[in-house]
Amino acid sequence: MEEIRIERLGKSFGGHKVLDDISLSIDKGDIYGILGLSGAGKSTLLRSINGLERIDEGAVYYKGTLLAGHTHPIERRRRREIAMIFQSFNLLMQLSAEENVELALKLTGEDHRREKALAALQTVGILDKAASYPAELSGGEKQRVAIARAIALQPEVLLSDEATSSLDGENTEQVLALLGKLNRELGLTIVMVSHQISVIESVCNRVALLDKAKIIEEGELSEVFLNPKTALAKELIYATHVKTMLDEKRMLRLLFNGNLDEPIIAEIVEDCSLLVSIVYADSKVIAGKMYGQVVIKLPKEEKDCAKLKRYLAIKAIAFEEVSPS
C-alpha cells in the first residue's frame, strides 16, 4: 500500500535548483534508501517530506491525501505522523534522555508522559540511561535517545537524515539493527538518506539514487545495486579499486546469485581454455539474499572475448562489460 507519494517536486535555493522534478512512491513498511553524493539534494528531499523545507513545485501526498505543496504548507499536527532523526542527534543538551523524550509527548498533551517516555527508551534499549544528559552519552546512545523521541508519538513514518554518518562502525550497525527492528515490529516505514552505500544496502528494500537534483535510478535494491545503469550508480556501487582500473583495462563483471557451489571461474578456465585474471570479487547480502560479483580482465584477443561472452550466455550467467565511464 502506497504511504508517501512525491510528485514532480522541485526546490531551489537562491536560484540554484537543488531538487528537480522528483517523483517517487514509498510503500507502507518500506525501508526506502535515498543515496547520493554530497550536495545531491538528498537531505533537502527528506526535509521537504515533513515540511522543514517549503516546496517550490510539486507536492507530497501521505496516504493519498495532500501533505505539502507549493501553496499548501504542511499542517503542524500532521508532522507528528512523520518523525525525523538527524546526523547530529539534535537533542536538547539541558534535558536528560527521559526529558528529551517527554518533550515530544508534551506536544500532544499526553497523560502519563514519564511512563511513556521510559517505555520508548526501553524499546530502543537505553532505559538505564534515562537520567543521563546527552553530554554523558556516546554517539550511538544519543542517536537511540533521538529515535526514542521520534517514536514516542507513534509516527507511521520515520525520516532518517544521515543518522549513522557520525557514528563508528559498531554503533552504526547497532542503530541500523534497531531501525530494522522498529520496521519489523512496529510496521514503521523508514526513509533513509545516506551517502554510505553500506548503510543503504544493509537495511533498505528499495532505493533511489540522486544526482545533481534529479533521481537517476530507482527501484528494488537488488535490481539497482546488481544492475547499475548510470555512471554515477556504477561509481557508487563498484569498489574503488575497480574504478581506478577502468581507464586502462577492459573488464567483465559477472553477477551471480550467491550460489557458492558453482565454481564459475574454474569452469571458464576449463571449458573455454582461457586464463582469466580476477580484478575484484565480493558478495553482498541484499534483502536477505546473497549476491556475488566477480570482475575479471577480458582476454586480449577479440575472438577470445566473444567466446567467453557466448559461454556465459549459454551458462545463463549475468555479465556486463565494465567500460570507463
Binding site: 503542524r76 508532522r79 538527524f86 547530529s88 539541558q94 534535558l95
Partner: protein, 223 residues
C-alpha cells in the same frame, strides 16, 4: 558613618538595583525574545520588525544614563510624585537606561541555542510558542542566569548617578565623601567601608550568577 547609615545606604542600593533590574527584565526579556525570533536565523524571520526594533534598542543604549535621568525627570515626578531626593526616584531612569541592554543580553543568550535542537522539535509539529518556552528558554537557561548577574552588576554601577539626584545608596555616599572632603578623602575610613561594601555585593552577585550557571548547565557534564 554609623552602622545604621551604612545599612540604609546598602538597602537603598539593593532596592534600586533589584527593582530596576526586575523592570528592565519585564520589558527587556520579551524584546530580546522578539529580536531573536525575528532575526534572519530566528523562528519567525521578519526584518520589518527586527530592523526598527534593533535600531530603537541601539538608540536607547546610546543615550548616556545621566542625560536619561534629566530627560525623564518629568516622567519620574509624574509616576512617583517627586523627581529627586529619594532612592525610588532612580527606578525609572535606571529602567530606561538598562532595558535595551537587557534585551541584547537575552537575544545573545537565545542565539546560543543549537539550531538543530530547535529543528528537531519543530519537525515534530511544535508551534513557535512551544519552541520559545520549551526549547529556547530551557536550552539558554544557564546563559540567561549569567546575563541576569551581569545586568544586575551593570545596573548597580548605574546607581552611582543617584548622587546627582540626591537619591542615596552606597556609591553615591562614597562619592559624597569625596565631594565633601576633597583634600583628604582617601584618609577617611568611611569611604573605604563604602567601597568594600559595594565590592562585596558585586562579588556576591557575580559568584551567585556563575554558580547558578554552572549548576544548571548540563552540556559540560563529563562521563
Amino acid at each position: 558613618m554609623n552602622w545604621q547609615n551604612l545599612l540604609l545606604a546598602g538597602a537603598q542600593t539593593l532596592l534600586m538595583t533589584v527593582l530596576s533590574t526586575a523592570l528592565a527584565y519585564l520589558v527587556g526579556l520579551p524584546l530580546g525574545v522578539l529580536l531573536n525570533v525575528t532575526s534572519k536565523k530566528g523562528l519567525h524571520p521578519n526584518r520589518w520588525v527586527n530592523l526598527p526594533l534593533g535600531v530603537l534598542i541601539n538608540v536607547m543604549r546610546s543615550v548616556p544614563c545621566l542625560i536619561l535621568i534629566a530627560i525623564l525627570m518629568p516622567l519620574t515626578r509624574a509616576v512617583v510624585g517627586r523627581g529627586s531626593g529619594e532612592w525610588y526616584t532612580m527606578i525609572i531612569p535606571l529602567f530606561f537606561a538598562s532595558f535595551a541592554f537587557v534585551s541584547r543580553l537575552v537575544e545573545g543568550s537565545l542565539n546560543e541555542v543549537d539550531e538543530g535542537a530547535i529543528e528537531a522539535v519543530r519537525s515534530m509539529g511544535a508551534s513557535d510558542a512551544f519552541l520559545i518556552k520549551n526549547v529556547l528558554f530551557r536550552e539558554a537557561k544557564p546563559h540567561l542566569y549569567n546575563g541576569l548577574a551581569l545586568a544586575s552588576i551593570t545596573i548597580l554601577g548605574y546607581t552611582a548617578f543617584a548622587y546627582d539626584l540626591g537619591a542615596g545608596g552606597l556609591i553615591a555616599s562614597a562619592y559624597g565623601y569625596y565631594a565633601n572632603h576633597t583634600s583628604d578623602y582617601l584618609g577617611h575610613p568611611d569611604i573605604w567601608v563604602l567601597i568594600l561594601a559595594v565590592v562585596v555585593i558585586v562579588q556576591l552577585i557575580q559568584e551567585a550568577g556563575l554558580y547558578v550557571e554552572k549548576k544548571t548547565d548540563k552540556r559540560r557534564t563529563i562521563q
